[in-house]
Symmetry: C2
Subunit: 207 residues, 2 copies
């Protein structure tokens, strides 16, 4: 395996700990964030969102997002484990991991702090910037895997995350026609009972 | 089951879709974010980080973080599935979900946008604010589950996320003595080979 990483990136570091824990040998490919290499086209072809780490498998397939990498390593190399066996304990573990992964780290990562410094903007412009960049990356990453839904022809947690995000994109004034693949999949989801039942407008506390 | 949620919250919405998909009946407990109920002590005793959703199981145990809830539902109610069967496809699915969950949504959620509006601050103060709040929530959430590590006495992905985050806390000038439980677990992790090998200072691209 090959790990595209930056020594100080905490998401890269998580992947390194897991690889070492599972005793997986790998080649280390440095991506120099001080030189903005993560945003250059060379690396963007490896990782659409321009973030480290990316794990490249021996067959050349690639994976990004550190938690997805951790779960993949856990499933393919179960010993020694990184998740408890009991379902509730597993859920608590993931909850704690997500407090860091989605609750803390994204708000203090390098790109976001740079944007804060540049800030002379409105809430809406700020939100549109990150939603726009994120959906660009999502569409580019999903394209080779998509079928009727984001991953082949079955609903997955990825679709579950997509639908609420596109609603937010519209709230902040983005035209989702910019992401035709995502808009088409959203429409397919919205045909399904589970997605209709769960829509904000159908909830008892709607205002 | 019981779901603490807000109609428009996208993380709540994800949980609703999954519950509907798995055909799980549940009681809906609205948490009014316009009235800041999610930050009040009543709800903080349900969810330390003051975010929706929280899933309460029939035995009263609680779970938060929407992705952890989705994975829990997938493991305990496998049919109909929300993850593909092939390990690589599973990883791609999680990668796409995390682009939304940690890459987009945290940067445009209500609390963050409010903070942006108030912004008259430095990068460091901004980072300290979110790291501080997040680690407070992490310690409070982990406390009932912690042993030698965050969840009982075995290393998990939660510990893998903890160690790099505490390093960042120090970089931004926070004193980690504020979180004695987390500091103790960090020390236990740092005794292990996998954590030592993976440390930034041991990487070939260290500057």
């Amino acid at each position: 395996m090959k790990l595209y990483a930056y020594w100080r990136s905490s998401a890269s570091w998580r992947a390194r700990i897991a690889l070492a824990w599972k005793q997986v040998p790998y080649d280390y490919v440095p991506v120099n964030m001080l030189k903005q290499e993560q945003r250059q086209e060379t690396y963007r072809s490896v990782n659409a969102i321009g973030q480290v780490p990316t794990l490249e498998l021996d067959d050349g397939r690639r994976l990004a997002q550190s938690l997805a990498i951790l779960e993949y390593l856990e499933e393919t190399i179960p010993q020694p484990p990184l998740l408890p066996r009991d379902p509730y304990q597993r859920a608590v573990t993931r909850q704690l991991a997500e407090i860091v992964n989605s609750g803390i780290q994204p708000l203090q990562n390098t790109g976001v702090l740079e944007a804060i410094v540049e800030l002379g903007t409105t809430r809406e412009a700020w939100a549109r910037r990150w939603i726009g960049d994120g959906l660009d990356a999502l569409m580019r990453t999903a394209a080779p895997h998509a079928g009727q839904f984001l991953v082949a022809d079955t609903v997955t947690i990825a679709d579950v995350c997509l639908v609420p995000q596109l609603y937010n994109a519209r709230r902040f004034g983005l035209d989702v026609a910019r992401w035709p693949l995502l808009a088409r999949i959203e429409a397919a989801c919205n045909d399904l009972d589970a997605f209709q039942t769960a829509h904000p407008d159908r909830q008892p506390d709607k205002q």
